[in-house]
Amino acid sequence: MSDNRTVLLIKKKFSSFWKTFRQNKTGLIGLGILVLFALMAIIGPYLISYNAASVEEISTILNPPDSEHWLGTDDLGKDVLAGLVRGSRISLLVGITSTIISMLIGAVIGISSGYYGGTIDAILMRLTDVFLVIPWLPLMLVLTAILGANLLNVILVIGITSWASTARIIRSQTLSIKERPFIERARAIGSSNFHIMFSHILPNVFPLIFANTILVTAIAILSETTLSFLGMGDPTRVSWGMMLHFAFEAGATIIGAWWWIIPPGLAVVSVVLGFTFVGNALDEVLNPRLRRRER
């Protein structure tokens, strides 16, 4: 009976969510883009080979697109399309994992700061302010330079530098939820602080966290790209940013090797746009605040 009820509930929740989300055109476009890139990251690498040209095949270096190499080749004779496909794995991996780290920190700090208030709030918010005002790219660059540029460090660095705005948003949401009578009711029936935070505050900030996660993923992917472009990426795991770094360093700009520059950048823009679309749509569906007033 109670399991049955849970299934019913999930079905009911999802169908009502999907009904509203479906009406959001940009959200659907974003979702489409993301599904496409996800497929590319998951099965793409099995379809296209990615090898440097051997010394004899010098003619395959820096070729513009042709029937064999749809997106041309780079200065080592590697297929740009293949690089793009492999890069999607790294870029998405870094974007998503670092966002998870960032959201965990942001949610814990935001909720506890908002819920407990007082000194805890003061200290946590000072810390948040510090992270908010420290210029974000220099901090990431310096941290990666010191810790060493490898994939794990890049993920960690993006994760621990990007939680501040999330914490702020979640804190203010927590503050407003805390003042609502159902929290007082929960206290009146004898709930513990932990219970209140877990079963009343969290479910109510969750939609915000969720929508924000998607939006932060977009920023995390942009961060990774920028970091890599500036030479602070993992040189052994070539992401889209790293491709652009190599291209820039090899003078692709001056040579006019547009096929090497445009595809990775376009991929970044599309994925970031996809996440932003979906994030905004979720924000509108789950947190109806910007929706126009009807009646």
Binding site: Q23, R292, R293, E294, R295
Partner: protein, 326 residues
Amino acid sequence: MSILEVESLTTYYKLRKGMVKACENISFSLEKGEGLGLVGESGCGKTTAALSLIRLLPENGEIMGGSININGRDIAGYTEEEMRQIRMKEISIIFQGAMNALNPVRTVGTQIVEAIKVHYNHLSDKECWERTGDLFEKVEIDRERVRDYPHEFSGGMRQRVMIAMALSCDPFVVIGDEPTTGLDVMVQAQVLQLLEDLRKEQGLGLLLISHDLACVGETCDKIVVMYAGHIVEYAPTDILFKQPLHPYTKSLMKAIPSIGQKRELIPPIPGSPPDLINPPAGCRFFARCPEAVAECERKKPVLVSVTEDHHCACLLVDSKVSDTSG
């Protein structure tokens, strides 16, 4: 001639699900210096009616038909530009919940001066501020306080500011959209008293929108009772209270605790108001009506005069009327 005459006003809201028939066939009239109460529960269309009069409906709201005569001119077909000319000058509105009804980052004085300037552009800045100060005295606020910000006033005081603003360009008709909701009883009584005094002093036509029948009964000369987008009864206050005809009005009356009489809880009206996207074909009160007969489900009642100024929309009353007259 009435200063405000509304004739079969109909306003709908467009929603994805369909048209919300928020307000249909609303007709009433208001004389100079008269107070008219528009009463009903939440969602009955009373605010929609008010916003239609001054044409400040939300974007999805549309006046579908009817006429609105102010001083003999029908403004229902006015363009936005024409409406601008008469808002505040001929018809003005006092909103509920005055905190957000005033711009928080400008002094209350500037906000009133702004209104005066639109309609009296021959006045100098100094004269405008003078006038604002006078208005403040009229609503019993210290005239020095024109330079204060909204958050520096208490709820009752802000409502007085709103009244001062509504009177700033000497309109004929003032609409009060729940002007005392959310205020304390004592402050509410003060504000209502003020409105009543101003109405009588200046010969304003006051349209008071409220959910509180008792309040309206105390301050208005005539009352319109609305239910689910329709007028169910329309009569002078004393007649309405002495002899309510519509079953809905009767149950509303009974729900007011009448002090001095026997303490007893009357049974609640069962059910809830109908969905206004697909309203019932017959009487909209049918499902909750204690006196309903089978015919009520199919036949839509129309507002008919029972006596000269007592109107009611109920088949039962209708048949009684036709019985006696026939």
